[in-house]
């Protein structure tokens, strides 16, 4: 038994140096070393929320103008700036619910008067095929997105939320996105996947110098897993830079993505601890 567990420990060290590496790890980075990556992340968020505001303005205008085809075309690209910064956008739970909740977050589903935001408009565009009922929803979406911008500008980014954000994005994908339930009416889920992975990858990239000092193997493995994800998603790109419908995702690639999401979620869950954050 004892021999066996020692053997397992050695095997674990050989194959997955991430797990027990605590004793061997370098001294944790000081809080000062996190200032720069956190500041850079804030710039990234600011740029994305600015784009979100601009894109939402055009999208809302199309919806309110009853231009269904145009609004359908704008729907997924508009959302991507939100999906990239979801870990910090979610810090404001009232706005997140208003902007991005799904029908099943509401007891009466699509008929629930509290169901608003992007997905209510998605339902109007693809299922109701009419924007008659969502004029006020579109106005509310615009004001919520503007409120998000204001609040994010004033926010002091908590380092643990930034570092933990990479894992948060993976957990979201693993729990309720990989199944294709996020954009169930439009089937534009692959846009969201790409944005979620990009958002997580941005955080990992900004932290890479610190992570490499703690655990080079971790950095290499995580890089490889992100690359596998982006390579898989790239197969589903359309000529215009968008993505094909989620229903065209092969079962095999769905499983591969699920596995990569799981291992990224497992590994990135150690990122905060590795950098000495609570």
């Amino acid at each position: 038994m004892f021999q066996l567990s020692r053997r397992s420990l050695l095997a674990a060290l050989a194959t997955a140096p991430l797990l027990p590496g605590i004793a061997r790890a370098q001294a944790k980075p000081s809080p000062l070393q996190l200032v720069r990556p956190v500041a850079q992340y804030k710039i990234y968020v600011t740029q994305n929320v600015r784009k979100l505001v601009a894109d939402t303005r055009v999208f809302v205008a199309a919806v309110k103008g009853g231009k269904i085809a145009e609004a359908q075309r704008l729907y997924a690209p508009t959302r991507t700036s939100y999906e990239k910064i979801e870990p910090v956008a979610e810090l404001f739970s009232d706005l997140d619910a208003a902007i991005d909740s799904r029908a099943d977050d509401h007891e009466r589903r699509e008929r629930d008067p509290a169901f608003g935001g992007f997905h209510r408009i998605e339902y109007a565009l693809w299922v109701e095929k009419s924007t008659r009922n969502v004029g006020r929803v579109a106005d509310k979406l615009m004001s919520d997105v503007l409120a998000l911008q204001t609040r994010l500008t004033r926010l002091t980014f908590p380092p643990e939320k930034v570092v933990g954000g990479a894992a948060v994005l993976m957990e979201e994908v693993a729990a309720t996105k990989i199944s294709g339930e996020e954009n169930r009416y439009s089937r534009t889920d692959l846009y969201d996947f790409q944005a979620n992975f990009e958002g997580a990858y941005k955080i990992v990239t900004l932290l890479r110098p610190l992570v490499e000092r703690q655990n080079r193997a971790f950095a290499t493995k995580t890089e490889a897993n992100f690359k596998a994800v982006f390579d898989t998603l790239a197969k589903y790109r359309t000529a215009g830079g968008g993505f094909v419908s989620y229903v065209q995702l092969s079962e095999r690639d769905r499983r591969l993505l699920a596995g990569k999401v799981n291992i990224l979620a497992e590994d990135l869950s150690k990122l905060r601890g590795m950098l000495g954050l609570n």
């Binding site: 004892f2 027990p20 605590i22 499983r255 596995g259 799981n262």
Partner: protein
Amino acid sequence: MTRQTANIDQQQPESPDRRRLLGVGIGALAAMPVAALAQSGGSVSDAAQSEGSHVADAPTSSHTQDRVEFRGRHQAGVTTPRPTAGMLASFYVLAETVDDLERLFHILTDRIAFLTMGGRQPDLDPKLPPAGSGILGPVVQPDALTITVSLGASLFTGDLGLEALRPRHLTQMEAHPNDALDPALCHGDLSIQFCSNTPDTNIHALRDIVKNTADLLVLFWKQEGTVPPIPAVPGQPSESARNFLGFRDGSANPDSNDEALMDRIVWVRPDQGEPDWAVGGSYQAVRIIRNFVERWDRTPLGEQEAIMGRLKASGAPMDGGTTEHDVPDYSRDPKGEKTPLDAHIRLANPRTAESEANLILRRPFNYSNGVTKSGQLEMGLLFICYQADLEAGFLTVQRRLDGEPLEEYIKPIGGGFFFTLPGVRDEKDWIGRSLIEAHRKA
């Protein structure tokens, strides 16, 4: 393999923590009769014990330290006694190379060794996620856990290049006439059967394996089940557990203590034309069979008994006898005047010289999943059986059953066929080794 609950003295780990723990009384269990440990499931404390206890106190069990040795010629969890709680989990395997698959097998072996023998989870930096879920506490109790690993046909027909090594009869399960298979509950690259005294122990083991194999396995479907314990009466022969139709299930099961019989019925032998690596393994057939229990409960008792071919209360056959252990003599009832010719047990096992070749070892659990859209109970049987030859075993038996009167009350909705890997022989061995080595030699 050691079919008995292992003696704790032999299992005593050398870690000081563990030794201290064993010193405070759990070691006394080693003196308990092996049979008593192995046969009983988790026990619920009786009223007398509950004096002075509080609502949310944990129920106590004297069986949390039961251990079933997982090493041996065969995997545990097939012929070892079935405890109260079972779970069958089916996975996709993400291994892209045979090296990945070997890595998966090593991880599984290490996790099975830890989970079935029990022990303390390592303490990690509190800034990191803990090593395990902790749902059994910091010291994992073995609780008679067995973990049985089997492979689906798709693992062999996939890109790993293992097709030449696929067991002869391992194919994807096909629908029988009464089946309404839900694709979300069928097949898989790899199955893991968990059996233990409590559902929580199985869930703990599943979560541990999911966490430790994140890049190699994706959970596909799972079904949990239980069997109701009965009071232990000294001197009485053991009884078969009842299914959700209220009938005893397992009365005619072959004796799993008869090793020669198990070698004939359950375990793949060298003379069967199977790949050499598969010897010592077994075919696992899984079926999730929904029971229409409301309708069944509205069926006259006599009709229920005619459909099953046994008396409901005692389990005795319909041509005489008083217990489930009495054997029906169909040769004296050729027209089915006592036991109808289409009764479930008569079709399943006609007890002729030829049907001896079709015996299977059943290891079922009852499942209960909630409520259907029609407001009926979604419950039934998590049927699991093992045999040396899937064609002669489950497939032949099921073909005989196709069209039986019982079909009006049951609906198979899921399951799959898997090949249970040969055992982990010793501390140097690992699950699936014979398959990987056969591939490397080829």
